[in-house]
Amino acid sequence: MKYVKIFLLHFQEATDERSRMFVWFLISLINPLVYLLFWRGAHTSLPETTNQWQLSGFASYYVLLILAGSFLRVHIEEYIAYYDIELGYLANSLLKPVSYFWYQFFHELPYRLLETSFGILVFLLFVINLPGLIQLTGKLEYILLSIFILFAGYFLSYLLKISLGLSALFTTDFRGLSELLEVTLLLFGGFVLPLDLFPDTLKQFLFVLPFPYMFYFPVVAFLGRLTIEELLKTIVIQLTWIVGFMILYRIIWNKGIRLFTGVGR
């Protein structure tokens, strides 16, 4: 119950900051739209190069990527590194009778949901104005598995970002690592191009990494581009990465908290 209250409290805070949230949403919106325009042009000039990814496939992919960017791209790391660690507000959290992990989880979730609501509006605009362009899976079992993949992707993204934020306990300036990871996420998470269109050897390498399981697979799952076996395989790999990141988080938290000084608080 206490976590529901935390969620509701931060939901209130997020709705109060809706104009700022909309500005944040624009970041998730701009790049997929530019890529969509790029492929629209490339598609009309060279349709044979895009293979199985026809225009509607690209449109569906990038429109869903707007939603994925809004919901799945957790931005908790800067808050943790700056407010909690650099300014020392972590001291307040340590005194609260709630788990820091779940507190931050329910702190971030309302912001993601609100940003996603803007994404849903854009999605509906596409569906209404360009009927038939966006094609998603319609089978119930596929939808249910895709929903699971979506939430597993969110959890994976959250685990990565909270671990990254807490890495500031060990370093004086975590920005270098943070930016490097952000670039890796954008490239290998499928934000530029569907990973399906990458060369085969690179694709096989990328599918071992956690990044595609945070963004790319939730998107292609909803597009219906995965078979039941592939959906189940995705879930297994996601769960494996979740366990791996949970262990990483525990190590960072247990070792890092001993180094926290919370000066002046």
Binding site: S19, I27, A42, G176, S178, E179, V192, L197, F198
Partner: protein, 262 residues
């Protein structure tokens, strides 16, 4: 003017001292800047991996756009972007009071105060790739073209400065929108794509985006000998009008600055 040059020289020195003082921070920021430059190049290479021409632009020509964008953003982020990130904070905390009391122009103070040398790294990277691509495309470039390219890049820089300044000035009045500079990083990324890409949009949206699409494409067209007289007029027209509008908008917005009980 002389006094402002003297102040700027001093600012260059002070900012260099802070670089020497916080070396690990500098290395970290250089890494971040480099990471984004790599993202731009790898992004366009991946994006064009399945196509040889898009909107009449060859793959290598698109990479030339990205290389020029890298040079321009290197200069821009070094000289301006951190200053623009500071404007919302100044307006929100009321520290803008102090700046308004300085016996120098307030636009100068808010735009030129911080210099981040860490972004310098992008310039040699962009130039190196540019020369490599021209060798690959077997295009010979004259000295006049290089000088013209640099001059047009400076004008492009002015347009980008004005766009950022106009957008950030909004935060003087609407202090809640302090994250506007963050979006501008994504918005200006549009400049590295051919203008034809945005012609697919409605006329209103295209006209709105037009200044952004001029920033990089126009200087690059100098290198390809494809620039028309009308494009030159448009480019300079946009730069001059944006300089005028951004200045006026800053003065106008300051009228609504209410401070923060400081």
């Amino acid at each position: 003017m002389k006094a402002y040059l003297k102040i700027y020289k001093m600012l260059l020195k002070i900012n260099f001292s802070s670089l020497v003082m916080y070396r690990s921070n500098f290395i970290n920021s250089t890494l971040s800047s480099m990471a984004w430059a790599v993202f731009n190049f790898v992004g366009i290479i991946i994006l064009t991996s399945r196509v040889s021409t898009v909107f009449g632009w060859k793959r290598e020509e698109l990479i030339v756009l990205t290389a020029s964008f890298t040079i321009l953003t290197g200069i821009f982020h070094m000289l301006f972007s951190k200053n623009f990130e500071r404007i919302p904070k100044l307006a929100n905390s009321g520290d803008l009071d102090r700046i308004l009391l300085y016996p120098i122009d307030s636009q100068f103070s808010v735009s030129f105060w911080e210099i981040h040398y860490s972004h310098l790294i992008r310039i040699p990277v962009g130039i190196g790739i540019l020369f490599y691509l021209f060798g690959l495309l077997k295009i010979s470039i004259t000295w006049q073209q290089i000088i013209m390219f640099m001059f047009f890049l400076v004008v492009g820089l002015i347009i980008q400065y004005c766009i950022w300044f106009l957008a950030t000035t909004i935060t003087v009045r609407l202090t809640r929108l302090s994250n506007i500079p963050e979006v501008l990083y994504s918005v200006t990324g549009i400049a590295r794509y051919p203008r034809e890409l945005f012609r697919q949009l409605t006329d209103y949206v295209f006209i709105f985006l037009l200044p952004l699409t001029l920033i990089i494409v126009t200087p690059v067209k100098v290198l390809f000998n494809q620039l028309t007289l009308s494009e030159i007029f448009l480019f300079f027209g946009v730069a001059i009008s944006f300089l005028y509008i951004s200045r006026k908008f800053w003065k106008y917005s300051l009228r609504y600055y209410t401070s923060a009980s400081s």
